[in-house]
């Protein structure tokens, strides 16, 4: 157990301490920078900018001194290395972008900076966000703070590990097929992926453009609401950005439900349990934790109803055809000409392209480019890509049928707790199958959360997934906040090894 300190405070609590002048942003920032050094073994970060962070913190303190305020003013965060930033290198976890400097900031980065956050640096992830263990990072692996011999999940594994180890109160992440929800579950923290279109994709290095969505990993639903509120909203620079007024997620979370009471804050909330989310293959320890959490939700006033998502299993091939198809197209920009790695030895332009791409991309990225290239190629398009997009419509329609009978859908995030490092690295298909519970909401573009729901085998955290209807982030956050008001799973801390001094 490490000593108590400012690292114990989440976003909301830290914001109150800063506002009350009990702490300065420079004090907190400097403390967390030291913790990143002390816990470097976790491998959460790809780059930390100490001087830049302290300068931003000093600026936040100065602004507060002249009357500026705001729930995120002076709050230290860091970004998944999928968001481009001018102030730090941006790699997407790939050798292809080693040493790359972006000429602009992502919209999410820009908005969080405007809200007064202090950016410590960039966090590790699977290469181009392709993976579910962060072992596909070209630079180094990231360890799960609950058990350093296990994966933190992925692809936002650096973000999840940093928040779980209390190196940061919150971090950004991206979720294409579960990359916020699954690492949040594996690391025992709270994560939210909003509806597709809520956060701008401008400056988020593209993996699968019709699925990619930015979100937050933090300790509580309240902290997620504060950060998500600042980073979301319409952006004309993203052609798929939802044209809607900005939402105050924090206000929605505090709003009471009609007919609810302090003892039954979830009164009237109908939680749908798809029977396909509780198959025989779901690990017993995960199912036990989830059933207990759902019983708690019911005790808080929610009604549990049985629903069906009959195409849950089909979501695996559907996703793993659509996402690689889009990835093969997006990653064709890496040609060794305008940015990124260029091979040293080549004969002509074509061989320069091939050598640069072959050296710059890792094995999983190459596999997905190959799948995508194949399914988009002449003669296969209708059988694979078009068929997958039709099934995607059917999956989205299945959700709408469910939402006739419930307000949110609940289930597991992953079939098991975090697995040991190296355990699945040689079997890509096994990794794909483990994404079964997060892929359906991604394909439909629905908002999803993972909230700490207890512990399973070997003391590893278990997350409960909540999926809402389009733009129902407020409903999800409210339910999660009520659950967290009655439980303490989200306050548990991993038994970290003593920091290196």
């Amino acid at each position: 157990m490490s000593d108590p300190g400012p690292h114990d405070l989440g976003v909301a609590a830290l914001g109150r301490a800063l506002a009350a002048r009990e702490l300065s942003s420079v004090e907190v920032t400097s403390h967390l920078l030291d913790r990143f050094v002390g816990h470097e073994r976790l491998g959460a970060a790809l780059s930390i900018d100490r001087e830049g962070a302290l300068a931003q913190a000093a600026d936040a303190d100065r602004r507060r001194g002249t009357g500026a305020a705001g729930p995120l003013l002076g709050i230290p965060i860091a970004h998944k290395d999928i968001f481009v930033t001018r102030a730090h290198p941006t790699t997407a976890g790939s050798s292809m972008l080693a040493g790359y400097r972006s000429p602009f900031d992502a919209t999410v980065v820009e908005r969080l900076a405007e809200a007064g956050t202090v950016t410590l640096g960039k966090l590790n992830c699977d290469e181009f966000a392709m993976g579910s263990s962060t072992e596909n990072s070209a630079f180094h692996l990231t360890r799960n703070p609950w058990d350093e011999s296990r994966v933190p999940g992925g692809s936002s594994g650096g973000s999840a590990a940093a928040v779980a180890a209390r190196l940061l109160p919150a971090a950004t992440g991206t979720d294409t097929g579960g990359s916020i929800r699954q690492p949040a579950s594996f690391c025992g923290i709270t994560g939210i992926k909003p509806t597709y279109g809520v956060c701008s994709r401008y400056g988020m290095i593209a993996f699968a453009s019709s699925l990619d969505q930015a979100g937050v990993l933090a300790r509580s639903a309240e902290d997620c609401a504060l950060v998500l509120g600042a980073m979301s909203g319409f952006d004309p620079r993203d052609s798929t950005s939802a044209e809607r007024p900005a939402q105050d997620f924090h206000a929605e979370l505090a709003k009471g439900r009609a007919g609810a009471s302090a003892a039954k804050p979830l009164q009237g909330l109908r939680i749908g349990l798809p029977k396909e989310f509780f198959p025989a293959a779901l690990a017993g320890d995960v199912e036990a934790a989830l059933r207990a959490a759902l019983a708690e939700m019911a005790r808080l006033g929610a009604t549990l109803v049985d629903v069906e998502l009959p195409r849950t299993e089909l979501s695996i091939p559907v996703y793993y055809l659509i996402a690689p198809a889009e990835a093969s197209s997006n990653l064709s920009r890496f040609d060794g000409v305008r940015y990124g790695h260029r091979a040293e030895h080549y004969e002509d332009l074509q061989s320069m392209y091939r050598a640069s791409r072959s050296e710059g991309f890792g094995a999983e990225v190459k596999r997905r480019i190959m799948i995508g290239t194949y399914v988009l190629s002449h003669g296969y398009y209708d059988a694979y890509y078009l068929q997958a997009q039709k099934l995607r419509r059917m999956i989205a329609d299945d959700f709408q049928a469910c939402f006739q009978r419930c307000d949110v859908i609940a289930g597991p995030v992953a079939p098991t707790v975090a697995w040991p490092l190296g355990a699945q690295s040689d079997d890509p298909v096994a990794n794909y199958l483990a994404d079964i519970f997060t892929l359906p909401a991604s394909l439909a573009g629905l908002p999803g959360m993972s909230i700490p729901a207890g512990f399973g085998a070997a003391g590893m955290p278990v997350g409960l997934q909540l999926v809402g209807n389009y733009f129902a982030e407020g409903t999800l956050l409210h339910a999660a906040h009520a659950f967290q008001g009655a439980t303490d799973w989200h306050t548990r801390t991993p038994p970290l090894a003593e920091p290196r001094r």
Partner: protein, 99 residues
């Protein structure tokens, strides 16, 4: 229908990837393992179903937004080229294409 070594070489060529012999063999096995889980998809009857290319089209009309034709930003060539592998006089350098 399983992929053959010939297919893997052809796809790699289209994807502008050079794969060594070992890499090709591994890729062949992994792609075939993957396409086995894809099989279940083809059995589903989907005639008449509209493909869902972008998720919000499931509940609202998808339209391509156009912005006014106005200059909104300037191009900073030096900043854009700072990470380029090879440039000269503001131009990107590539191997000779036309003799």
């Amino acid at each position: 229908m399983a992929l053959t070594p010939f297919d893997v070489r052809r796809i790699a060529e289209l994807a502008r990837l050079d794969l060594g012999a070992d890499e090709q063999a591994r890729m062949l096995d992994q792609l075939n393992a993957f396409f086995r889980i894809v099989e279940q998809m083809s059995a589903v009857e989907t005639s008449g179903v509209e493909p869902l290319y972008t998720p919000l089209a499931a509940v609202q009309e998808a339209h391509l937004r156009l912005r006014p034709d106005e200059v909104t930003e300037v191009v900073d060539r030096d900043a854009n080229q700072q990470s380029a592998p090879a440039t000269r006089d503001g131009l990107y350098l590539v191997p000779k294409v036309i003799e």
